[in-house]
Every structure is written in C-alpha cells, then in structure tokens.
Symmetry: C2
Subunit: 135 residues, 2 copies
C-alpha cells in the first residue's frame, strides 16, 4: 500500500512578494533559501524551509495562469498542501480505485526530477492537494 | 530572537467529517489519532499526525462560531496554518514591534496546556497563522 510520508510544503499565493517576505522572512525570521522564477508555473516562488516541511510563497508572473486566476478570484492565502508519498504512481492508481477525482491521472515531472500530481479539491474537502515523490 | 521551529499542523475546515475522513484517512491512508469535540472552538476535530506535522480536520458544531461563518462564506478548505515557536510571548512582542497585526496580543492556553495565539491574515498575505508553544 503506497504511503503518505509527511507534509512537504504549504504553498501560499501572494500578490506582492516583497510584502509577503517582510512578514514570513523578516518578521517571523524563517530563512529564505531561494527566490526563483518557475516558468512552468508562470510564477516566482520563494522557498522558506523549516525542519520537516516548507512554506512556499508563490506570486503569479502572468495573468493567464491557473494560480493568477485563483488569486484574482479568492485573494491571497493558502493555495495548496503538498504531501510527500513513497510511490506516487501506486498512490494515484489506489486513489482512482477509491473514486477520488484526480487532476493528473499520471505523475508529471518537475525540472529537477521530482514526480508530482494534483488531486481535485472536490474529493479532499476543498483542499488542492499535491503529491510529491522525491526519491 | 524567538524562533519558528516547524509547521505544527494545517487545519482544514470541512462540512462533513465522514466524507472528509473517507479521503484523508481511508483513501490516503493517514492514521486517525483521535476525533474529539472541542467545545472551546465549537468544533469536532480529527487529528491525523504525520512525522513532523499534522493534518487536522475541523467541522463546526454550531452555526455561530468564527469557523462556521468561515465555512459558510468561503466553503471547505484550508483554514489556518499553525507554526510551533520556541517563545510565543517573545514572538508576539517581536511581531508587534514590526507592525504585524495580531488577533491575540497575549498567548492563550488550550485545555491541555499549550500556549497559542493567532496572527491576522492582513499581515500574512491572507493566511490565518496560529502560533503554538508546546514546551
């Protein structure tokens, strides 16, 4: 049986990265470990790791992406919850067999080789859940 | 300088606990470590710990609580992010000195002795942030 290992990250969609960093980095004191453009997601992402999991701040860089539309509709706030699993392909088949609605039926691969897939909020009580398999 | 230690939990507000558990416990396979009425929060809470942090499912048990109103307005989904800190009183003074808007100026105490306080989403890019000091 495929298994959820831990929370990998919580992604927060922000309107203004500088303002967001003034809270999350400067006021709370969480160290910023990188601020990168992620063209595949039409976003700029700030990575603020904590032991065990990470806070990610995501600012859309275009107006036509899914995350830009989410921001326009719902405002800034928590966007998705990413869970690390040990076997993403197995977990996706298992979830499918349980009738869970998936956004990605098959794992996709990030630029740095991590496998990921999203589960539809309809099946999760309103949370956009991302699954990650790191190794 | 007070410090954020880790993500303690992510709280998800749900309309229907059984339906929520059918995904989070039964489909994802995260073990349920308790399902408790929390009268102070007018909620029933399901605790699903993972190594390092926890998923909490929260179903309002009355219609007049803050969380019930949140559910009515925004629908189910992520409600707050809880960060464990080493010195909550110190962190609250520090945040105040930085101009961060707090919901609780002073730490409150849970029934089981944990100190907690909430930060207003206005200062955090839209996230209701809870701080916890466990020991």
């Amino acid at each position: 049986m495929p298994k959820v290992k831990q929370v990998n990250h919580v992604a927060i969609v922000v309107e203004d990265m500088d303002k967001a960093l003034s809270f999350w980095r400067d006021a709370l004191g969480i160290e910023l470990h990188g601020l990168r453009d992620v063209p595949a997601e039409k976003s700029q992402v700030a990575f603020l790791p904590l032991p065990g999991s990470e806070v990610e701040l995501v600012q859309p860089t275009t107006e036509d992406s899914g995350i830009a539309k989410y921001l326009a509709k719902r405002g800034p706030g928590m966007h998705h919850l990413c869970l690390e699993v040990d076997d993403i392909a197995g977990m996706l088949s298992h979830l499918k067999s349980k009738g869970v609605r998936l956004i990605n039926d098959e794992p996709r691969t990030t630029a740095d080789g991590k496998k990921y897939a999203f589960i539809h909020p309809e099946s999760t009580s309103g949370v956009l859940v991302e699954l990650y398999q790191i190794s």
